[in-house]
Symmetry: C2
DNA sequence: CCAAAAGTGTTTTGGGTACACCCATGA
DNA sequence: TCATGGGTGTACCCAAAACACTTTTGG
């Protein structure tokens, strides 16, 4: 654990192994407690928030770099990942936030520091099982934590735009089995799946219509009753059919 | 004209003005003679084909860079442009095609030549009015010419993948008014618009259903009769309503 | 008059939604 | 028995597609 953090310590990093000028930013979605959440970093002693990101090794595929970044932040492999846009506005050339971060963390640095260049950001969104994730901060950040999408703070640079576009893409792909398959546990109740869809779309759905639509898609299989211990009838559990 | 070419001569270019490691590739669609076409470069004396591309100036927005590249190749401003994917496979690190090109064009070059690095490619697709375009080759290429999408040659690196993904995006956006508005002349017949849709989708469409659907969209306005000189009734002309 | 072009009427299909209503069940 | 969960039947709306048919019109 502390080994992992040491590994990420910025002053120990050989920045030369990365392609200059290109970064990867990730919008990592999780679902818990009936709320859709996103992993957000908070930089030490600065009050600055950002999406987790990273860089591309010179001999590494773009998609592999994204997988690696995801693994560093969540500990997970085999994550559902989707590139959705590349951001290259000049807003990204404002180095004041990163200078603030470095001033609070590095003994010394100069204007040529790797992190103080203009980056074009290739952005991915990821869907992960909340329960399996242990958020890991990097050495420049205190925390990497889940934030409810309705309580997102102001993020550095254009990261709020990035989040917004990621959420738009998630809405568009609501009918893909990937959404439920990756954001929920292996088994779940119909009410949980409906709650997830409602969180993503930001509106309530009709229960019976939702039920029929989902079952007609053919991706779901009912597997048994849940024992809740509560009064009244207990809900069935479902899982996605793996083809 | 020759001034413009001189300006593009590769040995005259200050490569240092561009961000390293990132390129822009464009899939430029045009429609003519009932066929969907794409602008393709042929490198001098090599038999190698590629999509037109360019680089990003250090103080230039990603989208502005794409607009500039488009203008260099087509002479047009105000082009309909859409970023659709960023490519970063290791296939892109194969420098043999570019070495072949340079060997046939430059007096001398070494392994550190700007064009012999690994590029991540941010890709755009563009829709242009065939009639308004004058394709302009760069100094490394003989020709920049329209090629029927059904007769595309094998392109360098992953450029065939890039084209394929661009075409997929074009199919998905078939119901956007942008498709007809940008690929056809200001006025056109219903048969021409239907032919365009058929070329993009690669299948025939029912005339009456197409007519009804298009008119119900509310974007089209009928403006008058076309004088064909042929026998039989002449078709009406339509144009898109600008809001 | 002929054939191309334009337009209408009707039907079917399929997805999505809304709602009423019934069945099952666990404490 | 009753509140919750699960499920069906029906109806409605809408976009898209398929097809038959009529009207218009330039030469």
């Amino acid at each position: 654990m502390s080994l992992k953090k040491e590994h990420l310590k910025s002053s120990n990093i050989d920045w030369n192994q990365f392609m200059p000028g290109i970064s990867i930013d990730c919008v990592i979605f999780g679902y818990h407690d009936k709320e859709l959440k996103v992993l957000v970093l908070e930089y030490k002693k600065t009050g600055l928030f950002a999406l987790p990101g990273g860089f591309i090794k010179k001999d590494e595929t773009l998609d592999d770099a994204a997988k690696r970044v995801l693994k560093e932040r969540t500990g997970l492999s085999n994550i559902y990942l989707n590139q959705f846009h590349t951001f290259g506005s000049l807003k990204r050339s404002d180095h004041t936030p990163m200078k603030t971060v470095l001033e609070n963390n590095e003994a010394s640095f100069d204007e040529t520091h790797f992190l103080l260049q203009r980056f074009i950001s290739v952005s991915y969104f990821a869907l992960v099982d909340f329960k399996k994730v242990e958020p890991v901060a990097d050495s420049l950040s205190d925390t990497c934590q889940w934030i409810d999408i309705n309580e997102l703070p102001s993020l550095i640079l254009d990261h709020n735009d990035i989040y917004q576009k990621a959420h738009d893409h998630l809405k568009k792909s609501i009918n893909s089995e990937a959404v439920g398959l990756n954001l929920l546990s292996k088994t779940f109740t119909m009410a949980e799946l409906q709650g997830l869809h409602e969180s993503i779309l930001g509106k309530e759905l009709n229960r019976t219509s939702f039920h029929r639509k989902i079952m007609l898609s053919g991706h779901l299989k009912r597997i048994g009753k849940k024992k809740t211990g509560k009064a009244h009838r207990s809900p069935y559990l479902y899982k996605f059919i793996q083809q």
